[in-house]
Each structure stands twice: as C-alpha cells, then as structure tokens.
Amino acid sequence: MSLLKSRSTAKIPKVYTFRRPKLSVLSWIVALLWLLVALVPYFFMIGFGFKGQNELFSSPAWKPPAKWDPVNFLLVLQGTYFRALLNSIIVVVVSMVIVVLIASSASFAFARLRFRGNAIIFSAVVAGLIVPQHTTLIPIYILTNKLHVYDSLAALIGPYVAFAIPITIFILTQFMREIPKDFFEAAIVDGASHSRVFFKVYLPLARTALVTVVIFNSVALWNEFLFAYVLTSSSNKRTLPLTVFDYQGQYASNTPAIMAALTLAAVPLFSAYFIFQEKLVNGVMAGAIKS
C-alpha cells in the first residue's frame, strides 16, 4: 500500500523546508488544454440533452441549447431508468457480498495456512487475471441457458463473481501476508481454530483492503457490458449500461433524449466520486498497482 500513501498523509518531519518548483506558463497552458479535452465532451453531452429534437439540424453542435428545456430528462426518468438503476445496484451489491465472503477466506488460507499445492493453486488463481471474458462467453451463454437463468439478474452474478475473484484474492492475500504472524500464533496458542482466527482476527484487520477491493470491483461491475449484453434481453432485466445501449433503439430519432439518458446514467458514479473522491480513486488504482 506504500504507493498509495499520498504526500499529505505521509508526514515526515523536516529540518530543511523544500519549496515546490514554480510553475511555468507552459505548465498552466498544458494543464488547461487537457482540462478542455477532458471536460468539453461532458458539456456537449449535458447541453445536447436540453436541446429540442430538431435543433441538431438548425444550429451548430457547439452552441448551447436555445431553451434549457428539461423535457428529455423527464422522458427518460419516466422510462426504465429507475428499474435499471435498481438492477445495477442489486447485481453489484449481491456480487460484492459473495466475492468478499468467499475470496477473503481463500486469501486467508493462501496467506497463512500450510497445505500441499498452496503456491501452485495461488498462481493458478492469479493467472485468472488475464483470461479474456470473450473466450468464456459462448460456454457461459450455454451454461446459463442450461441452468434456466437466462435473462435474469441471477445469470450475471456467477460470471461477475468469478471474474472478480482473481484480483480480489491477489490483493487480499498480499495484504494478509503483511499482517504480523504473531497475531496468528497468539490466537492459535490460545486455542482458537483456524476459522476463528480468520473471522475474529484477520477479517477485521483486513478492513482497509476490503474497502479497496469492493470499490475497485464495484466500479468495474457497474460499467460491465459484455455479460449483461449477452445474458439478459428484456428491458426490465437490463443493468444501467445496457439500458443506455437500448435507448439508442428506443429513441433512435431523438438524439437529445439519448444524451439526456447518458447524462442521467453518469449521475450515480459521479456522485460517488464527489463524495468519496480519494477513496474511490485509490480503490480503482489499487487493482492496477498491485498487479
């Protein structure tokens, strides 16, 4: 986790105070330029959502709407938006609960217990990180049909959990290895079983790492497209990204409504970002840094 420690939290007593270099004009120009690149598409999207259906043809795309009319947003909100939002929340929460339960216990076993094949099984699990979802798509599609869960939220949980397991076990195992062995030994000497040591000592101590993996996986699952696209079909089973995708057909001739839908679909994750900024970013980065 050392890399994640930001400058402000790592307080090092200093005798000699070091001043940050002055920023050149060029730095400011580059900074503002990239700000433009990062933000303009969003302004365009939001503004477009307020436009009238034919404004697209009558005035340039970069002009703000003639009248800020929220009718498109109301249209989308009356549709399947809230259903999709709920579906996304259900799928992400259920998947995360299962992932945390089963991956944390496995991580404890990998980090602290001695059994034959520990190292080999661990490497095999971590190798799962590179498996492309697409390679598994057809067999999982067939399996989903055989299990009679096609076109249900339940169909998504299996693959979502399975594909979250490798990274979760990887991060948690590394974290648990850094928890001093003394805790483990002391608990065993006191007569605790391995299960008890896991639940009472390791799981609570791994809290920060758990937060990290939950954030990382939640953001990934929240935006997941492929499995949701293939394993569900009816509109009341679609998650948010898929609902957005379906809007294209639904509002084919009403581009402003599609833009309003995109804006509304972005609201949940952006809200989370504004509330938990540093935490969210660190969580998203953890997956990258650790692998």
């Binding site: 991956a103 399975a162 594909f163």
Partner: protein, 297 residues
Amino acid sequence: MSKKYDPLKPNFRTLAWMLGPSIILLCVYLIWPIIESFRLSLFDWNGLDKSQKYAGFANWNELIHDPLFWLSVKNSFILLIVALLIQIPLGLSLAILLYRGGTRFRFFKMTYFFPGLMSTVAIAILFKQVFDYNYGLLNQVLQSLNLDFLMQDWLGDKKLAIFTVALLVCWQYTPYYMLLFLAALNGISSDVEEASAIDGATNWKYTRFIQIPLIKGAIVTAVTLITIGSLKYFDLIWVLTAGGPESSTEVMASYLYQMAFKSYRVGYASTIASALFLIVFLTAIFISRTTRKVREA
C-alpha cells in the same frame, strides 16, 4: 503420535470451506469455459441444433486462411501500439504536471479523472455524436474555426476509423495511468527530491534521471495492463462502429461476437475465442519474461 503437530496445517474441512467456493466458481466460469471453447472449436455447430458435427481442425484451418481474422488481429495490435505510444507518455506527462502543481492543481487532478468514470457504452454513444460527419461536434467546431480542410469522416473513413477509435480509447484510459504514475511519484521519498535539489538538479534533470527511473515498476505495470487490455477490446468498438465500416475496425472480440451471435457459427466463433485466449496468454508470458529484469531491479 507419528506426525509432529503443525499449527499452520488446517484440517480438511476448514480448507474445504475456505478455498472450495472460490475454486469451484473459477472452475465453472473460467477454466471449464476455456476447455469447452477449445472443444467446440473442433465442431461444426450453429448453436441451435442438438447435434454437433465433429469437424477436426477444419475451423482452425479456416481461421489461419481467414483474411478477416488477420485483419482483426492487426486492428487489435494497432489499438495496442497507439495506446502504448500515447497513453504512457501522456499519462506520465500529466502525472508529472500534477505532481509539480501539487495542491495548486487539485482541481485539475479531480477533473482529469472524469473520462475514466463513464461507462464505455456511454462514451461510445456520446462520441458517435462528436465524430458524426455532418452534425458532429468536432467537424462543426473545425468548420466554425475555418479549418474545413481538417474535417474528416472520422468513423466512416475506412482508413481513419480504427485510429479514431484508438484515440478515443486513449481519452478514456489515460486518466487511469496518469493516476497510477502520480501515486508512484508520490511514493518517492522527499529526501530524494531534497538531495537532488541541493545537488543542483533542474526540474527536467530531476524528472529524467530521478523520477522516471524510480517509477519504472509503475511504467511496467501500465505497459502490461495496456497490452492485455487492448487485445481484449470490445465494448467501445461494438457500440461505436460494430466493426465497420466494412470490417475496418473489427477486432478479435468483435469478430468472435459477430460469428457466434449474428452468423450462428458457434464452432468457428469458439475457434476465434480459443485463438484470442492463446494470443493473450502468450503475450502475457512474453511481457512477464521481458520485464522480469526491470521488476526485480
């Protein structure tokens, strides 16, 4: 008492409940599907019939001689190369910029991550409107600036489309690598910075000779993630161009999807799926071999 008591050794039941669920799920959703894909690649099957006709290596033979497949491989590697050439230097520059800016650039740091927050589908739909030839934002801005000669059919031009897609991928993912590098830069002890300042290192020299060598590990991580990620690319392309125009933006995953769910050639699609797996797997081994030295140093 034949064996010595080992406090680290779990009994079978404990081990079973701790590892069992994860292992079973991985077997069902990762390992079995890979094997099943290879098995299906030996069959001629439309996905609907009860019977699967054994075809030996006919699918593999077809794959090797399929120009569309090789085009999709080539496009996947174009995405990969553009991603490496743009995302690493750009991400690194922005990270250094944010690092030097410190608290003064806090606002920039927050907003730079925006492109990484939207779902890929949403990005694709949004940029369809940006890149539209007649009514798109990009062309209309160029027109209003009297830069008509730069106007392009960004997604409709067969030669250009794959590069437009590649640039959009960079727009989406550069913020991730920027933050990855920034985290690594923040991990460098401030003693190093002070020492080099006392030794008279300029900003540029400090970046070139101290910062970049010290965050090698993060750069290797970024290269690995970009490489593996680029070969698996699908969502953005599927929504933005569906592989078109005329297959000019087809990548391995989209070609696979097309074969399985549009052309109902499940056997052949499984062959592509298996090939995709092999390519990703071999590339991952290649990267981990070549970067071992850097990582261990």
